[in-house]
Symmetry: C2
Subunit: 205 residues, 2 copies
């Protein structure tokens, strides 16, 4: 699995001319890093007397962030696999009419999946933005910059996922699928912008 | 070294209540990921007939991005070390006047270093933004979303570095040092915003 690779080796693999892992996996990594930073600030908050009132809430947020961190590691992998499935479909034979039809269907199927994985990355990253925003607001003040960095890194994962969705959409023929996804990503993009602006406005860093 | 850790282990370490590695190292990782994605798009561009005219330029950009990727891995480490030096200085004895004086000096010294490392991360990330912008503009169009994700991830590294600088500045007594850094980060922040906006405007993703 990609997450079992050494950091430096993963980055070399990312740098290579193999198109997967690519931007989707990089976005998932940004999401995982954001969730981890949020966890750190939660861990620095838990057990401090001054933050006793929010301790239970912070503990719950921390548990969720740990779940998201692990989800992103799986999505890093899924994104690379989904991309490779598109490549495999493109390589199918197209000599007969029947082969052409099968190939077209497989390409459509694989492209949809390669769109749904980054969409999931964006959705999860939007959740992490909200959780990290709460941590920035209520958590240990000495680590405020870490919580803010978690918010903006998670926003990157939202946007990164969205760009990877957008680059696939023109290749999908199912118009209803495309329309649904378009409205979903528009909503997510504006929510992500709102959370980022609110966090930066409220934290005065 | 942090970069020799497995990805999943690094993220667990980042999640722990140890304050280092923290936001600075996370920002350096975002920078390294951005540089790697830029390299990938460069590698996908090099050798393609349609991009022959820009091949030499892309090769040079790729070499620079590889250098930055390696620099960020070192900065990930340096940031964690610089933070731990501040902690060590805070733990120095303060029983006598002489000890108090020495402790104060050591804290100032360590805090300045803990400010200069994330400043370096921001500067390097700004360079990577520019390089990734060129790749988005001139590189392989099928990987445009990857180049754009590289730009926004690098912008995160710029901002992340800046926030880590900002959280240290109130603790530094040397006003000239503080003023110089303040004007440097203001300039970097507006440059980073400009590059991001320009990239998003020009790429129509």
């Amino acid at each position: 699995m990609l997450s079992d690779m050494k950091l430096r080796d993963f980055l070399e693999k990312l740098s290579s001319k193999e198109p997967a892992p690519g931007g989707g996996s990089a976005s998932a990594l940004a999401g995982a890093t954001a969730a981890s930073l949020g966890c750190m600030v939660a861990n620095l908050t838990i057990g401090k007397k001054k933050y006793q009132d929010v301790e239970e809430e912070i503990k719950k947020i921390k548990e969720k962030l740990e779940e998201y961190r692990n989800k992103f590691l799986i999505e890093m992998e899924e994104d690379a696999k989904a991309f490779n499935k598109v490549i495999d479909a493109l390589k199918l034979p197209k000599d007969t009419e029947e082969q052409k039809k099968v190939r077209k269907e497989k390409i459509q199927e694989a492209t949809k999946e390669a769109t749904l994985v980054p969409l999931k990355i964006s959705k999860d990253a939007l959740d992490v933005m909200e959780l990290a925003e709460s941590i920035a607001e209520k958590g240990y003040k000495m680590a405020l910059s870490d919580a803010v960095i978690a918010v903006i890194l998670a926003k990157d994962a939202v946007l990164g996922g969205i760009y990877n969705v957008k680059i696939n959409l023109p290749n999908i023929k199912d118009q209803e699928f495309v329309d649904n996804i378009k409205s979903a990503i528009e909503k997510m993009e504006s929510e992500a912008n709102a959370i980022e602006l609110r966090t930066l406005y409220n934290t005065h860093l």
